[in-house]
Symmetry: C2
Subunit: 440 residues, 2 copies
Amino acid sequence: MRLSRYFLPTLRENPAEAQIVSHRLMLRAGLIRQSAAGIYSWLPLGLRVLKNIERIVREEQDRSGAVELLMPTIQSADLWRESGRYDAYGKEMLRITDRHEREMLFGPTNEELITAIVRDSIKSYRDLPLNLYHIQWKFRDEVRPRFGVMRGREFLMKDAYSFDIDKEAARRAYEKMFVAYLRTYARLGLKAIPMAADTGPIGGDMSHEFIILADTGESAVFCHGDLVDYDILGTEVDFDGDLSPIIKRWTGLYAATDEKHDEARFEAEVPANKRIAARGIEVGHIFYFGTKYSKPMGAVVAGPNGESIELEMGSYGIGVSRLMGAIIEASHDDNGIIWPDSVAPFKVALINLKSGDATVDGACDKLYAALEAAGVDVLYDDTGERAGSKFATADLIGLPWQLHVGPRGLANGVVEVKSRKTGERREIAIDDVVDVLVKA
Amino acid sequence: MRLSRYFLPTLRENPAEAQIVSHRLMLRAGLIRQSAAGIYSWLPLGLRVLKNIERIVREEQDRSGAVELLMPTIQSADLWRESGRYDAYGKEMLRITDRHEREMLFGPTNEELITAIVRDSIKSYRDLPLNLYHIQWKFRDEVRPRFGVMRGREFLMKDAYSFDIDKEAARRAYEKMFVAYLRTYARLGLKAIPMAADTGPIGGDMSHEFIILADTGESAVFCHGDLVDYDILGTEVDFDGDLSPIIKRWTGLYAATDEKHDEARFEAEVPANKRIAARGIEVGHIFYFGTKYSKPMGAVVAGPNGESIELEMGSYGIGVSRLMGAIIEASHDDNGIIWPDSVAPFKVALINLKSGDATVDGACDKLYAALEAAGVDVLYDDTGERAGSKFATADLIGLPWQLHVGPRGLANGVVEVKSRKTGERREIAIDDVVDVLVKA
């Protein structure tokens, strides 16, 4: 993409309204713009990152055996009356009356709707197990939206819902999601620790939050320090096999959110020098809640002997848009964002140090075409800005690699490649640079 | 995908509520389920088609130079007061009051919001031209939603907005979208005819609707018969070049929607034997409306001499979810849907004619793995249903190719390949079939 044809409105100054670094950087780097309180537009660069996060979440859901569908944003209030949550949910639910005076709502979550779909579609235990997910915009009318996309009102969530014939099968579904979540965060370059959590308005009796430790986190969390050093899961997980060793390893040490924290247990189970009491950002939440929805909503199937069995359910959420903020909180420096390779909006910032100079323009055009042809996503800064400003923008938007092309280097047949993460700069022969960046 | 692990709730009977064939088939083939009046959930198979349509729309927008971003669904009423449309829009706008009693709405379209974003982000004529699009759920509170996704309330739309420095540049932007739309429909396997159209609530003085002729269409349309036979655009369009020959060719013959129809002109310009008066389905609508929004909203840039210039704008919509209905209206038979290759949810239905038979199961497993490894999307019917039922389902869901694997063929080293479109069946050596289907 040529920057001259792109839409990347960066800001030089720190916006006054942004209290945390991810919010500041998302505004400054032209990733988002606020459209109303807690409601954001995703500018082109931000949308590319959002789609990369979404893709990784989707791939790991698919790998675990979950099946994607898509439920609408607007739901009928009647559906929520079936579960009893319409009155219980409170002011965070955005309630709507349509032109025929029917009560509707903007879905904050989808337990009721998916239960209705499954109830109306499957009849037999042979249709189970089933884990259905979607990635859709949700709305929660936060009383005080803040921290940019970290606590917005309209946000993108992946929510999965498992349906099983009995508790043992439901536990397997829960374990699959637990492991899929670990893999997802690892691929996003994040260290997220599963912690025993409260079930809140979803209900249920087993729940974990996935937490990233960060000073800017909204909740207090407590865990055994060894969890922070646990290495990341490899790619080879057999989701049809026994996942309990992975689960045991990650749940064997103390880790709890504020609501579930038990100081006496913490002190008894964790040696003093391993006790971590920190702030955390919640980036996922999984629940097992049995028949909480299937019972009132009549979601049953016929069992092997024809008996009617209420479905055992769980639900599993990942805050896709919030993850962008969490990634930036975890990966930035004073100059801007440092995107992990897996979610970077482009891999390379190609910087023309002397736009208008025929030799440099020609070399840049060639490199740009060659990189694109090799499948490398490039943002080519072909604008008339001065070099210093182009460097600052490239650092701010945080693409993994910068390619500096100027008259001095070209005279010697070289260009400069800079790693945004390490800051290291290398001169590379112009004929080798495509190959180097393909492999980088 | 193994059907035993998928979620494909097909219906044997025609649903009583569905009046047109696309609605019936979308329900029967397990593509959608109604969640409320005019609001649908997209089941896994339907979502795959929706994503394919979306991908083609996106690719052609990108090719034309438009840049993707994503605006939220919920907007502030104040923004619409700036343009004067808040009061003017009528009951189709879903109006919402949030917990702080602020007036909001579910966006039916995005002229105001995109104008605000551009106004606040660019300052100079050098930042133009700019064409920004998004693919987002919209809501229009139809008084009588009907025909499934063809006239739903919550629907997926691609809407693009062009910003230019003068009328001539705005016309070029309009022409690019005109051509991008022709290409988009062609890739979707649709023959859509651009017709002079009314500008309605968007406003403006130049507008075309893209119309598919179909008996089930909601509007009356009139055109020269030769337009129906115009061949489809090739892949080689230079969007930076002169597009006027293409525009002239497509706008040179009479074609108008009901609102714009002029019977006297029709009879004068079109020979009697070429006059087509038919029903049509609108699948796209493009507008040029100059400064209708930029003027009241103060969207200006500094021109070459520092003067303040109001932006010239156009907007360009494609009904992404509606297109699925339109494609089915155009491509089905008595047995079900016939998907064009470009949007088919899977390329191949692999049908095990004797599930439980070790030889057949083994052969199917091998073929399934080999096809997937070769990059062919396969839906493998590994269920215990009888063969006749599997054939009916495969015809109903309309994948382009069926692969029938049974004991008799295997004994001779062959499998049967059926084209859904032509009905033609061929016996193919089992060792060749992957290759045949890769190339099909």
